[in-house]
């Protein structure tokens, strides 16, 4: 019943938003600002029918997944190290805080300079944005091992590897996946902003080209496609969490 009412609620929201959109366009809002739903739908169909669009989707998806993958591996390694070694965390804390507050988007020109206009600079930006949420969550996850659980394994004479497998990893897993859920969203942002600011490929580039040619319906259609890509990737990460940590209450 809870699922049904949630579904009805979501449907109501969609209907209200689309209704307001229709009313606004019918009331004479310029099509350049807000195109009618019909023309967006038509542009969307044209967009997804063109094979070249899917090549662009592939480019953007590769950048996101590549950046996310790098951030996941680096985040777990750095997070475990910082979580285990307090002196290292204390030494690294100023750098982490600085890293947290600098607007990473401002680094895009540097990345374009270093890694070129191709996908590499976008992967780096996506990885950079996704890195912190994973690292911080892994750090917290590793720290949240209950002393009582550790005592059980110590009393049983478990080896370091057994403790890692039976305790550290399962304890950290929910936090890692929480971090991954935030990180995949950040990776999408990183890849798309990278494409906006420098490049000739990807869905972000499609949006910019449509904007420059004042093709607003196509711009909206590309944004919808980007949103769908983001939702799909986020859904996959959230699904992984339900499969991997079913015992956790937040799953």
């Amino acid at each position: 019943m809870k699922g049904v009412s949630a579904l009805v609620g979501a449907l109501v929201t969609v209907v209200v938003v689309l209704g307001a959109w229709t009313v606004a366009t019918a009331a004479g809002v310029s099509a350049l600002v807000l195109p009618p739903l019909g023309s967006v739908a038509a542009a969307f169909v044209t967009l997804v029918r063109a094979p070249v669009t899917w090549a662009q989707v592939g480019v953007t998806a590769t950048e996101i997944v590549g950046g996310f993958g790098i951030a996941l591996v680096a985040g777990i390694v750095v997070g475990v190290a910082l979580g285990r070694l307090r002196w290292l965390e204390q030494a690294a804390r100023p750098a982490l805080v600085a890293f947290q507050v600098i607007p990473k988007v401002a680094l895009v020109p540097i990345f374009v300079l270093w890694f070129g206009f191709g996908p590499t600079s976008k992967i780096v930006l996506a990885a950079l944005l996704a890195f912190l949420p994973i690292t911080m969550n892994v750090l917290l996850g590793v720290r949240s091992v209950e002393p009582g659980h550790r005592d059980v394994l110590r009393q049983l004479g478990a080896s370091r590897r057994q403790v890692l497998r039976s305790l550290d990893l399962p304890t950290a897993a929910p936090a890692v996946l929480t971090g991954a859920e935030t990180a995949i969203v950040f990776a999408v942002i990183g890849a798309v902003i990278g494409e906006f600011l420098g490049g000739s490929q990807g869905l972000g580039h499609v949006v910019v080209v449509a904007m420059n040619s004042l093709d607003t319906p196509r711009m909206f259609a590309a944004i919808v496609l980007l949103a769908l890509l983001g939702i799909t990737l986020h859904g996959m990460v959230a699904g992984a969490r339900r499969v991997l940590v079913p015992w956790h209450t937040s799953a």
């Binding site: 009582g148 005592d151 059980v152 394994l153 009393q155 039976s166 956790h248 209450t249």
Partner: protein, 255 residues
């Protein structure tokens, strides 16, 4: 009957044991000092005292979780023959009840089929039949502590260490667990060291009650419990006499 444990081989021998807690800042506090204790094989010993008297520290030393600052500890058979039940059940939420109970066997490398059979048998023994596949979070507090007890028993320990295992349970569940533990002990015959702050609980279960007094934790008195088993009726005058005796001894320590 009371003389029997002096004849049998001892299971635990503690001589001159002391432990100092060192904090990063502040003074060193002496949690235990000059504790001598010999426990016979098969004996049930309760350690009673107020919070902070070092009774948990003593148990953690026996379990090998803590190094004593002074003195010697001998546990016959070594750590492999010791099972421990903590104040909290400390079950792993990512394992089923069965896998939690079987954890000690998995660590020692027993194959899945055998440890499954052993775990299921123990779940039956402690009254968890039918809950083998449940997640720990689905159990009540008492049942979780039963699972923790099964996990402690699965390696057939010669010595069972229990650190206020029923402290977090409601009174009714607690009575039930005490009775069941007494039955299990009668059947298995393991040596038990049982830490508690409940005097009636100690008298109901133990052959001897060791009284610890705080700052620093020392053995203040040892009271024999010459009551026949099973000790179901805690309102009997003989039972109440021993309870009073222990309470008086503890009271004498305070004045």
């Amino acid at each position: 009957m009371t003389a029997v444990h002096h004849v049998k081989a001892h299971a635990v021998h503690v001589a001159g044991v002391g432990h100092d807690h060192r904090r990063r800042r502040g003074p060193v506090t002496t949690a235990l000092d000059g504790v001598d204790l010999t426990i016979a094989a098969g004996e049930f010993v309760a350690v009673v005292g107020r919070s902070g008297c070092g009774k948990s520290t003593l148990l953690r030393i026996l379990a090998g979780l803590l190094e004593p600052t002074r003195g010697t500890v001998e546990v016959t058979g070594g750590a492999d023959h010791v099972g421990m039940v903590f104040q909290e059940p400390n079950l792993f939420p990512w394992y089923s009840v069965r896998d939690n109970v079987a954890l000690p066997l998995r660590l020692s490398g027993m194959d899945t089929a055998r440890r499954r059979a052993r775990a299921d048998a123990l779940c039956r023994d402690v009254g968890l039949a039918g809950f083998e596949d449940a997640a720990p979070g689905e159990l009540s507090g008492g049942m979780r502590q039963r699972a923790a007890l099964a996990r402690a028993l699965i390696r057939d320990p010669a010595i069972l260490l229990m650190d206020e295992p029923f402290g977090a349970l409601d009174a009714l569940t607690r009575d039930e667990m005490v009775t069941d533990l007494a039955d299990l002990h009668a059947a298995a015959g393991a040596t038990v060291v049982f830490v508690t702050h409940s005097i009636p609980e100690a008298v109901q279960l133990a052959d001897r009650v060791v009284l610890l007094t705080p700052r620093p934790g020392r053995v203040h008195a040892v009271v024999d419990v010459p009551l026949p088993r099973p000790r179901r009726d805690t309102t009997e005058p003989a039972f109440q006499d021993v309870v009073r005796q222990v309470r008086d001894a503890l009271g004498a320590a305070d004045s």
